[in-house]
């Protein structure tokens, strides 16, 4: 297929039309112009190939050469991914800076995705021997990529046969051959890395139903609207609703083995801030810098639009690769709206028939293809292992309006919604997740896991919380008309407890060292504290104790303060609270009887 070239026929922004390419293939990579700008064939009409170019096209002229490669746009997968900061074409940005010796990214630069000189310490996995039959996904060796990530070297998808030769333990670069697989006439050399096209989902043995929650340390998510490992959720929110802070918290604190943060058409300064905190902050469970399990894809809003799509696909492809090793991966994409806008721009230039608000009609199917790559699977090959890719996609609806096409279409494919609310944000309630609009369809799947860890209380208390919050919304409408004093005592108590749920439980300070991450045990204790208060207060009120007396007690304030204690102290404070509550309630009851 090599040596196929054509000529530029038309240039319109990121879209270039070429003619005379012999048999152009859909989605093959082409090099455009003398500088060899990277592009991809996205449509073929007659003898014309429509190319979306991933770099700035200014200065190209009609008639320049276009070289077709016959290859699909692919990611390099192997040791060296962790800790990298890539652009949308998987070029490491630190390397770009070094090779250009400049603070800007200029077009046409070519650098390898994985460093070719780094020597990795490779250890043979003895379970597979020379002469064995091997197939895709079989683990033949291990590389300790960072102190907390063991990289499993697998037989790449599509390769099977007899293991003819293997290298011993030692230090190898990604290009060194570590095994040879033969099948009949065909001989395949296995290296520490292989390439995989970003538009093609990686194969697996079986897709499994969700079973366990992906704990995030954020109470409103973990307890109220849990996300399952392998799940998919959307986080829509207008500007200033704390979307980026929430997504960064999720990437930082979640119990994922690998976190991939895709900054797609977003702010450069925020990316810099996130990077800095990932280097400084330590993982709660393993006490190592978070960067040792993280990968960044930074395609900021001023970088070429077309590369927004590849940055999202690149992220999910790398995610699937680590999933295949048996890891739980969290992919955060901020923001899918910018990707949709890029599609709209290219579609407009191709003069396609526009759908709603100018978005192409295939917006929905593109979103579906992306979100469907999430999931929990049993991976190909030996040993048996399950891994998962969980996708959290931010959506930035214009004017905070959730009825716009990107939000609506996204909601068709995700199973959980964390709706960020402008009113909550202005009231400084963070995370500004609206409890009445948000939902999670994973509640039933994670029921057993959660009940087991909460002495069977989770399901019941959770629905009680939701009921109280719903009732609060109704009562507030009445209060607006008649004032709070007109309400019966029990309703007043509902308002009081709702406030306790909101301020003592749902609100969480991302910048407070004790509150930023709330382990499940701590969250359950606070939940239980509120439940107890509600139960006790209800009993008191039914014995004619007026609410203002209950309000004056010390115990409710203890509930509000619970979240500010470090996880290991909460248990002690909780016990004290229970004692105080019982004493105080006893005293009030005494008072009534006398």
């Amino acid at each position: 297929m090599a040596g196929r070239t054509g000529r530029i026929y038309r240039i319109a922004g990121p879209l270039v039309v070429a003619t005379d390419i012999p048999t152009p293939m859909m989605y093959e990579v082409v090099y455009v112009g003398e500088e060899g700008l990277i592009g991809e064939v996205i449509s073929v009409r007659g003898d014309k190939a429509y190319i979306q170019v991933y770099e700035e096209t200014t200065g190209l002229t009609v008639g320049e050469r276009v070289e077709a490669t016959g290859e699909l746009l692919s990611a390099e997968l192997g040791p060296g991914l962790i800790g990298s900061i890539y652009d949308g074409l998987q070029r490491p940005e630190v390397e770009i800076a070094r090779s250009l010796n400049d603070i800007f990214i200029r077009r046409g630069v070519r650098v390898n995705s994985l460093n070719r000189n780094t020597k990795w310490i490779y250890a043979v996995d003895e379970k597979i021997r020379v002469g064995d039959k091997v197939g895709p996904g079989d683990v033949i060796g291990l590389v300790q990529e960072t102190p907390i990530v063991t990289h499993k070297v697998m037989i790449p998808p599509g390769v099977s046969g007899v293991l003819k030769w293997r290298a011993g333990d030692g230090e190898y670069t990604v290009e060194d051959v570590v095994a040879v697989v033969e099948s009949g006439e065909r001989r395949y050399e296995v290296k520490l890395y292989h390439k995989w096209p970003v538009r093609v989902p990686r194969p697996f043995k079986d897709k499994l139903p969700p079973a366990e929650p992906l704990l995030t340390g954020i109470r409103v998510i973990d307890v109220m609207f849990p996300i399952a490992k392998g799940g998919k959720a959307a986080v829509p929110g207008g500007f200033g609703t704390g979307k980026t802070v929430l997504l960064q918290s999720l990437a930082k604190w979640s119990y994922a083995d690998i976190a991939i943060f895709v900054g797609c058409g977003e702010r450069g300064n925020e990316m810099a801030d996130a990077l800095k905190s990932f280097i400084q902050l330590h993982d709660v469970r393993r006490n190592r810098p978070m960067m040792e399990r993280s990968i960044f894809i930074a395609n900021t809003s001023n970088m070429p639009v077309a590369a927004r799509e590849t940055s999202v696909l690149l992220g999910v492809t790398i995610g699937e690769y680590f999933r295949d090793m048996g890891y739980d991966v969290l992919l955060v994409a901020d923001s899918t709206s910018r990707w949709a806008e890029a599609m709209r721009e290219i579609s407009g230039r191709m003069e396609e028939m526009p759908g709603e608000e100018g978005y192409p009609a295939y917006l929905a199917s593109k979103l579906a293809e992306f979100y469907e790559r999430a999931g929990r699977v049993s991976a190909l090959g030996r040993p048996e292992r399950t891994g998962s890719v969980t996708i959290l996609g931010a959506v930035s609806p214009p004017g905070g309006d959730f009825s716009e096409p990107v939000v609506r279409n996204t909601l068709r494919y995700v199973q959980a919604l964390y709706a960020l609310d402008y009113d909550l944000a202005t009231r400084r309630h963070f995370p500004a997740i609206n409890w009445l609009m948000s939902y999670s369809l994973y509640v039933d799947y994670v029921k057993d896991y959660m009940n087991e860890r909460s002495a069977g209380r989770w399901e019941e208390t959770r629905s009680m919380f939701l009921k109280i919050l719903q009732r609060e919304a109704e009562l507030l409408d009445i209060v607006r008309l008649v004032g709070p004093e007109a309400l019966p005592e029990e309703d007043k108590l509902t308002l009081e407890v709702a406030r306790m749920i909101r301020e003592g439980f749902l609100q969480q300070y991302a910048y407070d060292p004790n509150d930023a991450f709330s382990p499940l045990e701590k969250s359950f204790l606070i939940m239980e504290a509120i439940r107890r208060f509600h139960e006790t207060a209800l009993k008191l009120i039914r014995s004619n104790v007026p609410l203002f007396k209950i309000r004056e007690l010390k115990s409710p304030y203890m509930v509000y303060r619970l979240k500010l204690y470090a996880p290991h102290e909460v248990g002690k404070v909780y016990d004290e609270y229970v004692k105080t509550l019982d004493e105080e309630a006893g005293r009030l009851m005494e008072g009534v009887r006398q």
Partner: protein
Amino acid sequence: MKLLVKETRQITGAKGSLVFVKSLPEVAYGELVEIEVEGETRLGQVVDISRDITVIQVFGSSLGITPGRTTVRLRGETLKIPVSTDMLGRIFNGLGKPLDGGPEILPEEYLDIHGDPLNPALRVPPSEFIETGVSVIDGMLTLVRGQKLPIFSGSGLPHNKIAMQVVRQASVKGSGESFAVVFGAVGVTFEEAMYFINELKSMGAIDRTVAFLAPASAPPVEKLALPRVALTTAEYLAWRQDMHVLVILTDMTNYCESLKEISAAREEVPGRRGYPGYMYTDLASMYERAGRVEGRKGSVTIMPILTMPDDDITHPIPDLTGYITEGQIVLSRDLWRKGIYPPVDVFLSLSRMMKEGIGPGKTREDHHYVFSQLMSAYAEGQRLREIIAIVGVESLSEKDKKYLEFADEFESKFINQGENERRSIEETLDIAWDLLAILPEEELKIRDELIKKYHPKYRVSR
């Protein structure tokens, strides 16, 4: 220097500011062209090329362009401007030509106005405080070097005065570093343009200011070029000359209207409310040029000003801007009617980089605490104002009345300030403490040692 100049008279059509010509060999995408119309030379840019037809956007009107007679000449280069430190103290138009009657500058370099994206991996998170001397900004919405913080205003509100006050007063703590202001006015009226020119000349800050003006009557493409020309100059001063540059761009609503106009002329599919779908990307490609970079001493800080059509913050212009910038300063018509200047609505406003830029060594150790205390006390006062509108002031407790008093004083003493009044951050925070002293001391959620140090009650006895 290109010796071979290519030109053609084969114009096949014209519409709005677009001219269609038969393609010349080797015409480059984005290249500049000169259009000769009856002795006058106009500039244009290639916006679409195919093998047969090249589409040219004229910088100016297409008035008088005649197929067969008008000559179109290729310049063989993209839009570049000459830059030099001599630009400080001068006033230019949207394409970088002097407007002040002075000579053309002697360029040290020619730079493409579109620039290149900063490498995200080399960015340093912004964290150095810029003192604007305006209490509500310094105290509540702190601006830091490398940030992009817009002012969302409405027609008739004093955003231009605020901008000029910031230009006059802005400085960075810790001297010995050079500081410059790049001022760009897009599509402003004759009156506004005169105001800006006179202010800049009279303020003495002119020596460290480069100004670009494109009046309302300028062709749309000059309005589109102006912010990029201003930012290219700012980048030159920041990255090559190690200066801390504050870029003020007003009024970006005019810029967006020009973008819409040109998009419509090109018959592009419109996005929301008639604005082109790529408006986010277009604005981002400019605002993202703000930043701080590893290994360079300078910085680019951007403060764009825009008027919200019909004061509507969900309009696409403020909405998309808010998604790009790191916060926003929102002006309130209610406060302005009350006679408060600058009329900043602190509830709708936000500086996302603030937490990085304040505190000990940057502003003062009590800044964080004073900020949240002012915020919550003012919110409480605001809430009580709504209540007394229904039930009257009599039903309030003494404590509540203090909060009401605080809210009034906060507006009239803290937010309100003279147009020529420059308050240091210490003065700003001290005023804040004077106001907090209105409230009962037990209401303050601030660490005791800070109260002992800064509360007026203890300050006096010290």
